[in-house]
Every structure is written in structure tokens, then in C-alpha cells.
Symmetry: C2
Subunit: 258 residues, 2 copies
Amino acid sequence: MMQKTTAGWLRIAGLGPGAEALVTPEVSAVLADATDVVGYVPYVERVPPRPGLTRHGSDNREEIRRAEQALQMAANGRRVVVVSSGDPGVFAMAAAVFEALEAGEPAWRSLDIQVLPGISAMLAASARLGAPLGHDFCCINLSDNLKPWALIEKRLRLAAEADFAMALYNPRSKARREGFGRALQVLREACGRERLIVFARAVSTPEEAVRVTTLGEAGAEMADMRTLVMVGSSQTRRLERDGQPWVYTPRSVSGSAL
Amino acid sequence: MMQKTTAGWLRIAGLGPGAEALVTPEVSAVLADATDVVGYVPYVERVPPRPGLTRHGSDNREEIRRAEQALQMAANGRRVVVVSSGDPGVFAMAAAVFEALEAGEPAWRSLDIQVLPGISAMLAASARLGAPLGHDFCCINLSDNLKPWALIEKRLRLAAEADFAMALYNPRSKARREGFGRALQVLREACGRERLIVFARAVSTPEEAVRVTTLGEAGAEMADMRTLVMVGSSQTRRLERDGQPWVYTPRSVSGSAL
């Protein structure tokens, strides 16, 4: 006998940066109740197999097809979780699902859909360093797969002019080897060689590695596809201690800094 | 007999936006092990009382004194958690603690200190709406308690020029009634009256209220101190469904949008 199909739902969930202790109880609960988990292979593999759960891993570049597959399964009565690393709303699967929803079957609009937030890479990296994003900041995806490189440079220059701290996602991948070096050059011109920069790789995982340096000392090879880069504002400070220094941006800016 | 004082530690923890299901297991674990919880009164009250735990609630404007108190207690061997709503690194207590650490007792530098991330108000609000922060964005504190108003206006204009989506914290309080109306005027001039704006109040709590409108229709009275405001980029879309519409920013920008 067929189950009633109206019980299907779709959740777009953030698994956080890697550590199990950073997955919210809300996300753990939907994963325990799901029939299907959909996402990029390494993220799907973070959900342990169990009877009754089908894991659908797909390649990095297949976001829209993956989103359509998830919407169709939910329409067929499945309980589907699309998983992202970090937060699903920050350069991850939530936008892709809504793009697919808008372009897709009209019936999908009445599906039971929720987005469940997660600890984003920038919040995890910021916590590990201290408080580099403790004042106004911006968040820029350095990949030019889906936007022109000129727009990335324009945003970096305007962010520097606004004196934002910056969280920079996807600095570099095997397919994009050149862009990050150019981004560093733009930042050196706009912010000077003494400005603080942080490379935070795979925070909260066994592969975690953090490096604090300056734009003058930074090189493109310090980042890979698992690195979140943070550039300080003019106010960001380095505070020495044993081992890794703290990095924080004070809450106050005086009038003379304008 | 006195306990050895070297066992003290300080954790600066994010409680998330309000719902218990959005508190990370990492934060729950340190709260269960703490001797002292320190913070703004309504946040401290989110930690249930239990034997062996002292809750130190203080007023909103006392961040530095509160940070010094927490550091001193940890130096005295207490297990201290400084709590913030949302994430401690986003316009919350982490920066205040590092300011106090830098200015304070040299011995504090060798304390066992960690920052534990939380689901920030912007991630919770973004999830509730869909994916308004799905492309490049910035995050600005609209309070001019600790920076000149002119800097806020400058950042809003540059953020509009960069075509960032914007998450705007602390739009309005009883003591700051005028600024948000001026911010809306700046945004209308820079982004036009049709630009999407979202008011997300107390997301994940029983008082949650979300409103999607345009800059032309927005009024300062739509925000209070519990409201996170989000302004779309030029690409941000509204997707109708039964009830509250979805709001999302697509991942792609074409070359012609430059």
C-alpha cells in the first residue's frame, strides 16, 4: 500500500563547520527523522548511515540539479534534508533551492520547506581567533564561477573604503588558482601591507590550522578550498599570548578615524 | 580548604537567537560545568538556575565592567561563562572581553579563554526568510553609541554602491529614536524605493514577527531593539507562497549587472 504523499517535507540544514558539538539540536532532530539526505559528497558523509535513510551524494558543481532532486523527492512524500557545511544561507544550498523552486514545478510552492541555520565557517573562525568580526564587517565569496571577477575587485575596494573587516569565502580551488593572488594585491593597495589577515583552515576539525599574518607577508599559497580568510579593518588588533595570538576588532571607533 | 585556583577558565558563549534547539551542544556542555554565568540580565536568565551556579546579571551598557568581573573571577579559579544572545563575536561580548583583557591585569593573558560560537540573529533571520544573504553581504551595527553617526551613513552608502545585501543590527532603541529613520532615508536614496527590506523580530522565540516590504513602504516604527533588519541587494527576489513570502538572493550575478 502506498503511503500518503502529503507527509513529505524539505529541510535545508547547516551542519556547522565540522565538529559534532557545533551541530544544533534542531538539525540533529531532522536528520534523525529524515528518509533522504542530499548534498555534496563530503557533507552527506558527515551524516552516519542508518536503516531507513538514503544518502544522495553529488558533485560540487551540481547545486541546481541537487535542489530539483530534493524538491521532487519531498513532493513525492519523502522527508528530505539538504545538507550544507556551515550555514545553508551563506554561499551554500539555500539560495540554490529557492532558485530551483522559483523556476520549477508550480506544485513545489506549496511544499513544507524550512531552512535550519548552522554555525557558519566565519563564526567558527572568528571565535577561534577571538573577535575579528566584532565591529562592522562584510562577507564576500571570492569564487568567480557565478559572477564576474571585476565585481569581486570592486567589492573588495569598496569594503576597504568602508573600513569593514572582511570574511572571504572560497579563496582558492584547484580550478581557480589565480584569483586569490589578485585579491591580495587589491587588498594590499587598498589597506596597506601592515593590515592583519588571518587564514583559518578547517576550524573545529582534526585538520584545523590557523595563521595570523599581514597583507605584506601573505601569499596565495596560504589558502586552499578549506580556508576561510579574514582581513581586519584599520582598527583590528593583535593581542599576544602563549601560542596563537588573539585577533579582535574593538567595538568603538572614534570620530578621528573617519 | 581553598581549592587550587589554576582550574579557572573563561568561556564567551553564544546562546543563539532564543530557541533552546538552536543552542549548540558545545555551549550547553560548558553551561553545565560552569560555576558562574555573567551577562546582560535577559540573557543570564536564559540559563536555568541550579545548585553550584551563580548568575551575575548586569545592565546593557556595562560591557567592560562585566568583562573585567568575568576575567577576575576566572583568575580566582572560577569556571565562568560570559553569555551573549546570538553569536558572541557579532556586536556582542567577545570584543568587550578582549578590550578588557588588553587593558587589564597582565596575569589575565595566561588564562584559559575560549570563544564558543552561536547562531547569530542574522543567520536565524535569514533562515526564516529563505536565503536573503545567499550572495555577498555586509553586517552593520546601526547604534551610534560607540561610533560617529557619519561613519554609519558612509558605510550604508558604500554598501549600497557595492550592491551588498545588508544585515542591520540594533536599528532602534528607546534611547536612539531618530537614527533609523535617517538610515532608511540614506538607503532609499542609494537603493531606490522598490528595494526589498525585511524586519525580523525575535526570530525563534514566541514573540517572533517577520515583515517583508520595500524601502518605499518601510517606516522607522517597524523596528525596535529586538529587530534584525535586512536590506536586499539589487538581485534579491521575493517569491510568493501561502502566507509569508520567501526572500532570497540568487548565487549568480551576470556581467551586465556591473
